[in-house]
Each structure stands twice: as structure tokens, then as C-alpha cells.
């Protein structure tokens, strides 16, 4: 399993990269890849996303420089932006027992374990995918699987601007969102939390993560 840390990257660019890697994974041309990224502000609509759940006006979005994307993942409307750790596993689920539900559970479990490492008590809620700290949502899930290969994934709120969350009604629910920073009451380092989450994902799924580069992942180094 290769790990590629993209740092801060535009959503649209990352979406195209995911689709390229997904096509290659389906063809057996690349191994499983885990992307980690922090996006510039964006609002995305999944397959059951309704624009009614967008609360911001076009002028609000324009002022903040926030783009909108309709994407193929499951779920409704989601915000991504600075201070949020996003993980996109491009994984062949035929090697994980074709267990789509189990895969999502594993992503949630690894996130819960990561938060426990930070002394935050979080959990899953039946019927409400994602990770929750009591009634508040701290991580969102939205996955797409074709040819039994996954893309899209998980977004963990590390230190997100709460005014940006106010622009949407996440997945149509009147739920509050929360960030790790709000719970620990001090600044938190996104890179450190990424490393903890990578460790917990590796443990949960039995992955041996190997740091990689864009050039290596795209196979251009061999050409």
C-alpha cells in the first residue's frame, strides 16, 4: 500500500488524480494507494446531495472563493477546507473480502482509535455513518466503489473554520460539527494527527504503508 501525502491541494485537481489512480487500480496497473490531503475550501454534493442543503448564497461563496462540485461518492452535501484531514483510499476490495460495509466500518474504527489517542471519546452511530462525539460530527464518510475498487473516503475535522460549516446542512441533517481543536482547547498539528491516523488505519486493515511520491505513483519514473 503506497501512501501519498499531497499537502494542500485543490479539490478538482485531487478528484482527477483519484479518478486516474482508480482507473489504473482497476486495470491492475498500480497497487493500492492511500492519498492524504488538506483541501482549499470547497462544497461537494454526493449522489444523494440536494442543493437545498446549501445555506450560503452565491455571493457568500464567491467572496470566500468556494467552488461547488457534484461528485459520484455516496452521501449528501459536505464541506472540505483548511484544517480538515482528508483520506482517500484507492483500494481493491476484492482483497478485503468484498465487504463494502466492513471497509467503511474500518475507516470509522481507525478514526475512533485516533481520537482515543488524543483522549477524545468518539464513536459510530447506527444508521448515521461517520464519527461522532456525542451528538456532534467530527468525521464524515463518503465512498464510491466501482470494479470493486474504492475512491473518495474520509474527512476528519482537525481545526476547521466553523463559519465555513455554517454554509451547509451536512447530509441534510441538522447536526453540529466539531473539530479536534475545539475539544482539546488548544492548537493541534494536522501533520501529527495524520501520522496517528495512518498508523491506526494500517493497524485496522493490516496495511504496510510505504511513503511514495506523485511521480512514483503515476509510474512516470519508469518511462
Amino acid at each position: 500500500m503506497l501512501h501519498l501525502s499531497l499537502g494542500r491541494a485543490d479539490y478538482g485537481w485531487t478528484l482527477e488524480l483519484q479518478r486516474t489512480l482508480h482507473t489504473r487500480r482497476r486495470a491492475g496497473a498500480t497497487p493500492d494507494v492511500l492519498l492524504t490531503v488538506e483541501h482549499n475550501p470547497v462544497i461537494t454534493f454526493g449522489r444523494s446531495g440536494s442543493h437545498e442543503h446549501l445555506l450560503a448564497s452565491p455571493s457568500d461563496l464567491g467572496r470566500e472563493g468556494i467552488e461547488l462540485f457534484e461528485v459520484e461518492r455516496g452521501g449528501g452535501v459536505t464541506y472540505h477546507g483548511p484544517g480538515q484531514l482528508v483520506v482517500y483510499p484507492i483500494v481493491d476490495l476484492r482483497e478485503h473480502g468484498r465487504d463494502v460495509r466492513g471497509f467503511v466500518r474500518g475507516l470509522e474504527d481507525a478514526t475512533v482509535a485516533t481520537l482515543a489517542d488524543l483522549s477524545i471519546a468518539a464513536g459510530r452511530r447506527d444508521g448515521y455513518p461517520g464519527v461522532w462525539v456525542s451528538e456532534r460530527k467530527i468525521a464524515s464518510i463518503g465512498v464510491y466503489v466501482s470494479g470493486w475498487v474504492s475512491r473518495h473516503g474520509l474527512a476528519l475535522n482537525v481545526a476547521v473554520d466553523p463559519t465555513h460549516f455554517a454554509m451547509i446542512r451536512p447530509c441534510g441533517l441538522s447536526v453540529e460539527t466539531v473539530s479536534i481543536r475545539d475539544l482539546v482547547g488548544r492548537a493541534v498539528d494536522l501533520d501529527r494527527i495524520r501520522d496517528v491516523l495512518l498508523g491506526r488505519l494500517a493497524e485496522r486493515f493490516g496495511w504496510a504503508l510505504e511513503a511514495s511520491s506523485l511521480v512514483e505513483v503515476l509510474g512516470e519514473a519508469r518511462e
Partner: protein, 82 residues
């Protein structure tokens, strides 16, 4: 000779009891290859694209967009020359 008809069933996705049909990616009459993407279904924040179980011609769509389908349910049918 009579053509052979094959059911397209919702695969076992783990502990998933039912899904909602999002959209068909093929129309009735289309020629399809085995494992080709046929339709999108959604369950609890996951879009799953159902692959074709066999090559042939999509002859019938039983689960239309918005329909709920249970595990193992028949989504449509593929016809193969007999």
C-alpha cells in the same frame, strides 16, 4: 433456439440489507461485457457500481431509479444468444 436469460442480482456487500438505485449506466438493448459497470446503487454514504455478471444484451430493467432493493434482489436481466 431460445435465448438464455441471466438475472443481475445485487451482490453481497457485507452487512448491507438494502440499497437504493441511483441510476442505470446502460440502457435496455445495450451490449455489455462481463464486469462492465451497469448501475449505481447507494447505501449509507457509499455508492456501489454493480458489475455485469455476464456478457450479453441488457434486456430488462426491473429496479428503476429510486427503487429500494434487498440483498440478492434482481435488478435486471441480461440476454445471451442461445
Amino acid at each position: 433456439m431460445k435465448n438464455k436469460v441471466i438475472d443481475i442480482r445485487l451482490p453481497d456487500l457485507g452487512e448491507v440489507d438494502e440499497v437504493c438505485v441511483v441510476q442505470w449506466l446502460k440502457t435496455v438493448g445495450a451490449t455489455i461485457a462481463v464486469d462492465e459497470d451497469l448501475l449505481e446503487v447507494e447505501t449509507e454514504k457509499t455508492t456501489f457500481v454493480v458489475p455485469a455478471p455476464a456478457p450479453g444484451r441488457l434486456c430488462e430493467v426491473l429496479a428503476v431509479e429510486g427503487a429500494t432493493v434487498e440483498r440478492g434482489g434482481v435488478l435486471g436481466r441480461i440476454e445471451q444468444p442461445g
